[in-house]
């Protein structure tokens, strides 16, 4: 068990290293690069540009810059924002909660609805319900999240006036009920794609389990159908779903970015777009790294849980 864990941890660290290489070089080698923000200010001469580059250490070889950046990042210094001179890590931490709240709620909805639909369509394979949900899931996967958000705002906020069109809370209110009301629409929009994915995978996972020998044995023993379904089938079908939750993280995080933009939700996605608009290079880089780290930690956590739950993984 311990060897399995340390192995997985080592792999994740190597991945994180490659991730940092890709992120750093992509942003550094892009035309304009970190200096583009200064090039825009009026009356900037080449001489001044060179001086800024020297001050920021940008005239050094890129490899040196990379390792300099890497060591300070490992020490907890992710640089300061060009926009308001705050430490990048503080800014990201300030926006983390909003994104986590949105993603957590959406994932909870997706898991509940998606697994239920998936189990039901696997048990009733070939039925009208199975066929309808299959088609609906594929349509849901084809709808652009941001457009679905716009339509949801149009119907539920502008036409019906049931729910707020954006933001996380009303200024001056901020009670839990107020947060909840603001959360409903963006969470449902973000959950749409996820529900579709979860129901598809849960259907396949259930079908894989349903024909196995131990299910037949359970039936032969005369166990009640409901007990077989929930204890034997669903219990085993849920194991690959834990891995799926980890693998789905980048998709949900990307979806959160888009959803946050449409609903002016003050999370990491909005921060990312605002920072791009200002060419706030350290924050963009920090967010790229933070999102990749979140994904890797999520995958690691998923593998850990699977190892604890499923003895086959632990022993192999």
């Amino acid at each position: 068990m311990l060897r399995y864990l340390s192995g997985r941890l080592g792999q994740s660290l190597i991945l994180l290293f490659i991730v940092s290489l890709i992120g750093f070089f992509v942003l550094s080698l892009a035309p304009g690069g970190p200096l583009s923000q200064f090039a825009l200010s009026p009356g900037m001469t080449q001489e001044q540009m060179d001086r800024v580059a020297e001050q920021m250490g940008l005239n050094r070889p890129i490899i040196v810059q990379y390792f300099d950046w890497l060591t300070s990042m490992l020490a907890g210094d992710w640089g300061t924002s060009y926009r308001d001179q705050q430490p990048v890590l503080t800014i990201i931490a300030d926006h983390l909660f909003a994104t986590m709240l949105l993603m957590g709620t959406a994932t909870a909805i997706a898991v509940t609805v998606g697994t239920t639909v998936g189990i039901w369509s696997a048990v009733r394979r070939g039925s009208v319900f199975d066929y309808t949900t299959t088609v609906l899931a594929m349509v849901a996967l084809s709808i652009p999240t941001f457009w679905f958000g716009l339509i949801a705002i149009y119907i539920f906020s502008l036409e019906l006036g049931w729910l707020p069109a954006g933001n996380m809370y009303t200024v001056g209110d901020g009670s839990i009920g107020d947060y909840a009301v603001h959360l409903i629409l963006p969470a449902l929009v973000l959950a749409l794609v996820d529900v579709a994915v979860w129901s598809r995978y849960m259907r396949t996972a259930t079908l894989n389990v349903i024909n196995q020998d131990f299910v037949r044995t359970a039936r032969a023993k005369g166990l009640p159908n409901r007990r077989i379904l929930f204890k034997h089938i669903v219990g085993n079908a849920l194991v690959p779903m834990i891995t799926l939750a980890g693998l789905q993280l980048p998709v949900v995080l990307g979806g959160a970015l888009v959803t946050e933009t449409v609903f002016t939700w003050p999370g990491m996605g909005r921060l990312f777009l605002d920072s791009l608009g200002y060419s706030d290079y350290p924050v963009v880089m920090g967010l790229l790294m933070a999102s990749a780290m979140l994904v890797l930690i999520g995958n690691l956590a998923a593998d850990l849980i699977v190892a604890v739950v499923d003895p086959r993984v632990r022993l192999s």
């Binding site: 490659i18 084809s142 652009p144």
Partner: protein
């Protein structure tokens, strides 16, 4: 003697036709095909049938609702005909989607076949790079790239391809790995054929089924990604219309002119759903295991 020699030659077309028949019987795939063909016809032929040019500005006809004044989908804040813009945008969006698919399928296939054929250290390095790319939420990486380049249709295509080749690479790698030890590859090796020949003439053609499926789904993905970044203002730049950038200003007019948002979004959904349906049908048709299901 002649019979045994003929048998394999005759079997190949039969399998192909069985796959075609299975695809033709897939209702959803046929629906998808109809959706794509209709949309493509509308976009590439439609502009010639309309009374309005997509760039013609008529400020007196601003915000005309659909089906008024000869504008079937209405007009935008500058009085431009939305139908004309939608069809032109469709040409741009679908071309970008297709080109990105071809590019990412090529990258993915090469990476996958190299990794699957050589295995060992080559595979370990290449697959870790694939994993690393998959660790970024693709929208984040795409936007970071888009913000720092000169936006134009060609560059947008390149960066979409650069962030969506990983699936194909994984699929090809897995496929090639199982094919590598089969007899026909051993035979090719004993004939002294070069590694390059074996990879691209023997292995890759045998993995073509999964590649076609993945490529179809990649078109859908690429159209969605283009729409995302253009909606956020980092993709295709006006005056060149794309389905994404048509939605760019739609949010502020949501209440007064909802058709600005509804029409292009529906076009995206139809196109993406069409490719997803066809991809699903191809998977069922080309995957011999699916017959058992």
């Amino acid at each position: 003697m002649t019979m045994t020699a003929n048998a394999p030659a005759r079997r190949a077309p039969r399998i192909k036709s069985r796959a075609v028949r299975r695809f033709m019987q897939h209702k959803l795939a046929m629906l998808g095909l109809v959706m794509i063909v209709t949309l493509a016809l509308a976009c590439f032929v439609g502009p010639y049938l309309l009374a309005f040019d997509e760039l013609f500005i008529d400020l007196r006809a601003r915000f005309a609702p659909p089906f008024t004044g000869g504008h079937i989908f209405g007009t935008d804040p500058l009085g431009r005909d939305i139908a004309a813009r939608l069809f032109h945008a469709g040409q741009v969006s679908m071309t970008v989607g297709f080109a990105a698919m071809i590019m990412s399928t090529c990258i993915g296939s090469v990476v996958g076949v190299l990794s699957g054929y050589y295995g060992g250290a080559v595979s370990a390095v290449l697959m870790r790079i694939v994993d690393a790319f998959l660790s970024f939420p693709s929208v984040f990486l795409l936007l970071a790239l888009a913000a720092f380049i000169q936006p134009g249709p060609a560059m947008i295509t390149v960066i979409i391809a650069a962030t969506s080749w990983m699936e194909v690479a994984r699929i090809v790698q897995a496929e090639v790995k199982t094919l590598r030890d089969q007899d026909f590859v051993q035979a090719a090796r004993m004939l002294g054929l070069s590694g390059r020949w074996i990879m691209f003439r023997e292995l890759l053609p045998n993995a073509i089924g999964p590649i076609i499926v993945a490529a179809t789904l990649t078109v859908a993905r690429a159209i969605l990604l283009e729409a995302y970044i253009s909606f956020l203002g980092y993709g295709i730049q006006p005056p060149l219309p794309s389905w994404g950038n048509m939605l760019n200003g739609a949010q502020q007019y949501l209440q007064s002119a909802p058709w600005l948002a509804i029409v292009p979004g529906l076009a995206i959904t139809i196109a993406v759903a069409g490719f997803n349906f066809v991809g699903d049908g191809l998977r069922d048709a080309l995957d011999s295991r699916s017959e058992a299901r």
